[in-house]
């Protein structure tokens, strides 16, 4: 026990700091173990060839070389990914914005509130269930689309939409039609309601109304929201493959395969964990580069903080 008159063994300042450290050491260690270590492993293990429980060999860059030269799935999966991402960007930057504009044009606050909730409501359905509904109820042979075609006498046009090589790619892209996500609507709505009343009044005085106002005033005023959705959609497009596990497993053939899905199969079906790590690193570099570009060319650092 230290005598109170003595100078403290360690200064109060240091003691305060030590108390702080000792409390936040648990979150720090948790993050170190479950995030930083896997990040480090992703890079490190991409240079090794190994199976779980087996011996690992150092193979240098050969996984990366294999991915860009001999892997037959690389080219088609990158093309598919680009297609899905571009498609998603086009529909998510346009349709929810139109709906948000329609909602905000309504006079009654109560209805505006109601519609925003209405479009947000589908988030209560688990994502897996939504995918299973699209795969199992909408696209299946006795599903919604085919039954509807039969109903209106176009029975000749029925397809096994996801199994047919000619329709699989576009069918996967169309999942989520009409693409009015509640999240996007809310973001655009917030952007539109942030337009100062003076701007709206000036536009009205100048006779700038309707579609002209939408393109000349509204869209430039919600650019930062559009950028946010753009980067989020691109990131989701590059790394998203969960839905494909449920819908097509990348088939038929490699018709709907994407790089993330190949990473998943390499790891969990072929036991090629080192190679899978290499694919993960490549995708990370791609996402990182695009994020930096977005940073540089569209100065909107604030919005990027959400790109988790």
């Amino acid at each position: 026990m230290a005598d109170k008159k003595d100078k403290p063994f360690i200064s109060y300042k240091l003691r305060g700091a030590l108390v702080c450290y000792s409390i936040i050491i648990i979150p720090i260690l948790l993050l170190g173990l479950f995030t930083y270590l896997p990040v480090f492993w992703a890079f490190q293990k991409s240079f090794y060839d190994f199976e779980i429980g087996g011996i690992s060999h150092f193979v240098g860059l050969s996984h990366y070389i294999e991915y860009f030269t001999t892997d037959p799935t690389t080219y088609i999966s990158l093309v598919n990914m680009a297609f899905f991402t571009l498609f998603a960007v086009v529909v998510r930057l346009s349709l929810p914005l139109i709906v948000a504009k329609l909602i905000i044009s309504i006079q009654s606050e109560r209805w505006r509130h109601f519609y925003r909730i209405l479009f947000l409501a589908p988030i209560v359905v688990p994502g897996v269930a939504t995918m299973l509904i699209w795969g199992g109820m909408i696209y299946s042979s006795q599903g919604l689309i085919n039954e509807f075609l039969r109903l209106i006498g176009l029975g000749n046009y029925t397809h096994a939409w996801l199994a047919n090589p000619g329709t699989a790619l576009i069918a996967v892209a169309m999942v989520g039609f009409p693409f009015i996500g509640g999240f996007e609507v809310l973001i655009y709505y917030a952007g539109l309601s942030g337009i100062p009343e003076s701007v709206n009044e000036a536009a009205l005085l100048e006779g700038c109304v309707g579609i002209r106002k939408f393109f000349l005033i509204d869209i430039p005023m919600v650019l930062s929201q559009l950028k946010l959705i753009l980067i989020l959609t691109v990131i989701a497009g590059i790394q998203g493959f969960e839905g494909l596990i449920i819908l097509t497993s990348g088939g038929p053939g490699y018709r709907t395969t994407v790089p993330g899905l190949m990473m998943y199969f390499n790891a969990f079906s072929f036991q090629r964990f080192g190679y899978a790590c290499a694919v993960g690193v490549i995708l990370f570099v791609l996402i990182f580069t695009l994020t930096i570009i977005n940073f540089k060319f569209f100065k909107s650092a604030e919005e990027l903080q959400a790109t988790k």
């Binding site: 702080c20 993050l31 896997p38 992703a42 044009s105 988030i123 964990f273």
Partner: protein, 315 residues
């Protein structure tokens, strides 16, 4: 003039909304039906539900009489009084839901446990860490904050495979901890970010006056900080619940044992078993699995909206 314009707006919004919600209508509709009935006519109204309504109406009105019902399960027709027919049709309407519930019940329990444990961990670690980083000056304060925030730039696709290898090496495969601990580690980052920007915005006078009143750090945190941060807290909580409820891939990979499935992975596994040949059962399972979040959504609509928008902007 204004009225007609509004009328068009409502109509076009409702057109978009009905296209969005149409699949869910058919899921609900067909969850009451058997495969035979669905194959017969995809778009029809459930016959059993229709009969249930008719018979209930007649029973309530006190009409006496009998009705011939087709028992699809036993492949026979029988003659029942209206009162018995109500019971019979009620059983067939709810049959899919009962079977779905039987399958989903353990998954619900797992999901609840995982969601509650994770949310608790995230809220405690997130708020305490943010409080310390926001209100105390000590060497390394900034560095530690960036240590947390930097992890936001690592996408899930980079860490998925090595995280699996880590959890396997730790011997956590096929356990609830494999879902809870990594989720707390990752989820606290967003929580720290949100809490810290909230705490940073609180006036220093507030803390000074509380200290003058003799409040210690713990009582300051418990009696002042937590009650004040209720709105932020509920946003973090809701976002966390939403994320965990929807998380499919990670539980699917790390827990292959049926005992530890959560709802998301359990639904996918169910869709690949023989039971999935009964579409009505699957649809009933989708509906059932949406009910808890639906209740939460109705109860806390405002927080959902706040969470969606504050997650995207400088929170």
């Amino acid at each position: 003039m204004k009225h007609t314009k509004n009328w068009y707006l409502h109509l076009s919004i409702l057109a978009f909304a009905s296209l969005t919600l149409l699949p869910f209508y058919f899921v609900i509709n067909n969850s009451f039906r058997s495969n035979t009935e669905m194959y017969h006519s995809f778009f029809g109204f459930p016959k059993t539900l229709e009969q249930l309504i008719v018979c209930s109406y007649k029973t309530i009105k006190g009409e006496k009489g009998t009705i011939v019902v087709n028992d699809e399960q036993e492949q026979i027709s029988k003659t029942l009084t209206y009162k018995d027919a109500v019971k019979f049709y009620f059983d067939s309407v709810t049959r899919n839901y009962k079977s779905a519930w039987k399958v989903l019940r353990p998954y619900f329990l797992n999901t609840f446990l995982v969601v509650i444990a994770t949310a608790f961990g995230v809220l405690v670690f997130g708020s305490v860490t943010a409080y310390i980083l926001s209100r105390f000056k000590f060497p390394g304060n900034k560095v530690i904050f960036y240590y947390f925030i930097s992890t936001m730039m690592f996408p899930a696709v980079l860490t998925l495979v090595p995280s699996f290898l880590l959890v396997k090496r730790l011997g956590l495969l096929n356990s609830r901890l494999a879902l809870i601990i990594p989720a707390i580690a990752g989820g606290q980052v967003f929580a720290i970010f949100v809490f810290k920007s909230f705490f940073d915005g609180l006036p220093q006078d507030l803390f000074d006056s509380a200290k003058i009143d003799g409040a210690g750090h713990f009582s300051l945190y418990w009696n002042l900080i937590l009650p004040l941060s209720k709105p932020v807290l509920s946003v973090v909580l809701i976002m966390n619940i939403l994320g965990m409820w929807n998380s499919f891939l990670w539980p699917y990979i790390v827990n292959t044992d049926k005992k530890y499935h959560v709802i998301a992975s359990g639904l996918f596994v169910l869709s690949q078993t023989e039971a999935a040949a009964n579409f009505g059962l699957l649809y009933a399972a989708y509906i059932t699995s949406s009910i808890p979040l639906l209740i939460l959504f109705i109860y806390a609509t405002k927080t959902f909206i706040q969470g969606m928008t504050s997650g995207a902007f400088k929170a």
